[in-house]
């Protein structure tokens, strides 16, 4: 994170926000490919599993296709918010 500059720079703030947006959409895409890609096989095939394959007491597809990506996404969120997202000075409000 950079130090706060004294005065808002609208252009720089806009470009930084855009960069952050691209990263977030990228993460959404990666998690989507993981969750939907994995579960399109595992979750839909589980119907015919006898006996059902489980892990931690849950269907196995829930663990690898939901819990693990959830943990990964949360770890990324911590990194993104604490390390990547940049502080910007806030605009002063115009008079009402």
């Amino acid at each position: 994170m950079s130090q706060l500059p004294q005065k808002p720079d609208t252009g720089a703030s806009y470009r930084q926000s855009k960069r952050e947006m691209y990263v977030m959409v990228g993460v959404w895409l990666v998690v989507g490919l993981w969750v939907l890609g994995y579960n399109s096989q595992a979750a839909y095939a589980a119907e015919n599993e006898v006996p059902l394959r489980t892990l931690l007491g849950m269907p196995r597809w829930v663990v690898f296709g939901w819990l693990v990506p959830l943990c990964a996404a949360n770890i990324f969120t911590f990194w993104f918010c604490l390390r990547f997202m940049r502080d910007e000075p806030m605009e002063k409000l115009p008079e009402e």
Partner: protein
């Protein structure tokens, strides 16, 4: 216990006390918030809390507003009805905090401050320099948000009917309301208990929202957020301990098959000396068949009046339990009254279109569905919902209002982390709790919307702490209230700021206060009138409202914030085509499916089609219309800006 309604039977007074204490705190907070309004710009304070929300306030108000009646009533009902596949249905929540908050929050807050905007239509109008943009945005916002608001009113009233069911003072009041309203056309058609609860709920929530404004909403959201979190974690602990661990629940669930729906004939097996009432939810045990123990459960109450021996065509469900499912069998048998002089015959039932007689259907995708041979969640619909949740979330004006109110970027960064953790601790436990619910209290397909309070009552009474049920049921009630207050404020804010003040720019602050209070109350009254005879499907209303808002505002807001070349004509076209496409798909759905639901072309949710069409229309119209004024671009994008 012969009654099917566990909650009403055991937790009435405890629930009433919890409810009263809860409401007392809500009004104390509203009063404190009202005192904060003095000495500040009224509109800025009333609608945005003077834009100085800190981390806890912003995070909790965002989370509580987001976790609506749908999360605590509709969502548990879906898990109960369809099983583990609902985890896949809600998989978009894995990245919800990052995408829904992070995508636009920082930029939206900056642009709102730069333009001095208080509402979403105002931001669009000022950024694009067009009154038409503002008016179209206001109309769409009020229209779709009102649907969303209606669903929450219904949810709030339904929770209250459950909460107060057995309280004697409440029953007396219901009788009085019934006598008073029955002769009134249309109003008299509504159930008296629902009507009474709708009025009490509406008066409470409208009063504290109108009195305290945004700050009251935020403070009560904080309290409600804590109650929700504690409630879910308590439910999780109780459910897991009583079912013997999640593995035990999954094992029984994997052997379950969906119930069959239909009717049967009830016959009195002895001469009845007095009328005999059988309440909704009454169980009967039939013979074993094909390794499954069969049970019948009544979907409605019936009465054997004097001398009557037989009641034909009684609505029922047929539950077929695997004989290895010990917990499920024990639960059903504990509710059967062996001395009931009634037998069941002439069963006429049909199975689910997907999942009938298919063990494993509750622990896999696509999950059982009564009305579709494709199952609950075909893969393309899973893709749709993965897009729907985070992006429709990003485009909800009620969340945007919060994103305009945080005080600085560190607040935003820490709030995203908090919401990510909070949602992880809410949604996954809810899935576990209500998959356990299928095993612990089977047969609630007769009224799946009630599963949350019934589960709370069952778990607490089994654990010997029935008074706790009141606290647990306060969680969904808090969720509904925290959404209703936000939506009320949003709709009234749009009307006051974007319509009234635009037409009367020189109006005094005292007059604005009056208009604001009256508008908030007026919106509440309209919602009550619309919900006197509510439509059946709560979740469909919620999805239509949030989907419509998402379709109307997602692309217009994102492109307004991030694409300098965007023109006002394109924004109007984008909002109308997005919202309009949503409406058309619901119209087709109504014609094709015969009920209020979106038409899923190629199994894709209407939201996906609406957003895609909105985006294409906006890009196309932008390309063929004049670029925006240089002054606007410099103000919102800086001096050197690339118009492509």
């Amino acid at each position: 216990m012969s009654s099917g309604f566990i909650f009403a039977s055991i937790a009435g007074n405890a629930a009433l006390v919890s409810f009263a204490v809860y409401m007392l705190f809500v009004f104390i907070l509203a009063g404190l918030a009202n005192r904060q309004q003095s000495g500040k710009s009224f509109l800025n304070e009333y609608f945005l809390g003077s834009r100085n929300l800190g981390m806890w306030a912003f995070a909790f108000t965002y989370a509580a507003t987001s976790a609506s009646g749908g999360s605590f009533m509709g969502f548990p009902s879906l898990i109960y009805t369809h099983g583990w596949v609902v985890a896949l249905w809600i998989a978009g929540y894995i990245v919800f905090p990052l995408v829904a908050i992070g995508l636009i929050a920082k930029r939206l807050n900056q642009v709102a401050r730069k333009s001095g905007s208080i509402t979403v239509p105002e931001i669009l109008r000022k950024r694009l320099g067009s009154d038409t943009v503002g008016m179209v945005a206001t109309v769409l916002l009020v229209f779709f948000q009102f649907f969303f608001l209606l669903a929450q009113f219904k949810a709030g009233a339904k929770i209250m009917t459950t909460l107060l069911g057995e309280v004697s003072a409440y029953q007396t009041a219901v009788t009085l309301v019934d006598q008073f309203t029955r002769p009134i056309p249309w109003v008299g058609a509504a159930d008296a208990d629902y009507l009474l609860c709708l009025l009490v709920f509406a008066i409470s929530v409208v009063a504290y929202t109108a009195w305290g404004g945004f700050r009251a909403v935020v403070w009560t959201d904080m309290m409600q957020g804590v109650i929700m979190g504690l409630g879910v974690l308590l439910l999780l602990g109780l459910a897991l301990s009583q079912v013997g661990g999640v593995g035990s629940a999954t094992a029984e669930l994997s052997r379950q098959v969906p119930p069959r729906d239909g009717n049967a004939t009830l016959t009195a097996t002895m001469d009845l000396k007095a009328p005999l009432a059988l309440v909704k939810g009454t169980w009967f045990e039939l013979s074993e068949q094909g390794g499954r123990q069969r049970f019948v459960r009544l979907k409605d109450s019936v009465i054997f009046s004097n001398g009557r021996k037989e009641i034909e065509n009684t609505p029922i469900i047929l539950v077929r339990t695997a004989i290895e499912n010990k917990i499920e069998l024990r639960s059903i048998r504990a509710q059967i009254d062996d001395n009931l002089p009634v037998s069941v015959s002439d069963l006429n039932v049909v199975g689910y279109e997907y999942g009938d007689d298919k063990p494993g259907v509750y622990v896999s995708a696509p999950g059982p569905k009564s009305s579709s041979g494709l199952g609950f969640l075909p893969i393309m619909l899973a893709v749709s919902f993965f897009c729907f949740w985070p992006f429709a979330g990003a485009a909800q004006p009620s969340y945007m209002a919060r994103q305009m109110a945080f005080k600085d970027v560190p607040t935003l960064r820490h709030s995203i982390i908090f919401v990510a953790v909070y949602f992880s601790l809410i949604y996954f436990p809810l899935i576990v709790v209500f998959t356990c619910g299928r095993v612990l209290i089977p047969g609630w397909e007769i009224d799946a919307d009630r599963i949350m309070p019934e589960m709370a009552a069952y778990l607490t009474s089994s654990a010997g702490v029935p008074w706790l049920a009141g606290l647990l049921v306060a969680a969904p009630f808090a969720a509904v209230m925290s959404s209703v207050d936000s939506f009320l404020l949003l709709v009234s804010g749009s009307v006051v700021r974007d319509v009234y003040q635009r037409k009367n720019p020189d109006v005094s602050e005292a007059k604005m206060k009056k208009v604001t209070y009256l508008t908030t109350v007026g919106v509440g009254v309209l919602a009550v009138i619309a919900m006197l005879n509510p439509p059946q499907f709560l979740q469909d209303l919620i999805v239509f409202g949030s989907g419509g808002l998402g379709a109307s505002f997602l692309m217009p807001v994102i492109l307004t914030l991030y694409w300098p070349r965007l023109t006002s004509h394109a924004t109007v076209a984008g909002m109308l085509s997005g919202g309009g496409t949503m409406g058309v798909f619901y119209l087709i759905g109504y014609v094709v499916n015969g009920k209020f639901s979106g038409y899923e072309l190629w199994s894709l949710h209407p939201f996906i089609w609406s957003v895609a069409i909105s985006a294409m229309v906006m890009v196309l119209v932008t390309r063929i219309t004049e670029p925006p004024q240089a002054g606007l671009l410099e103000k919102y994008f800086g001096k050197t800006v690339n118009l492509d």
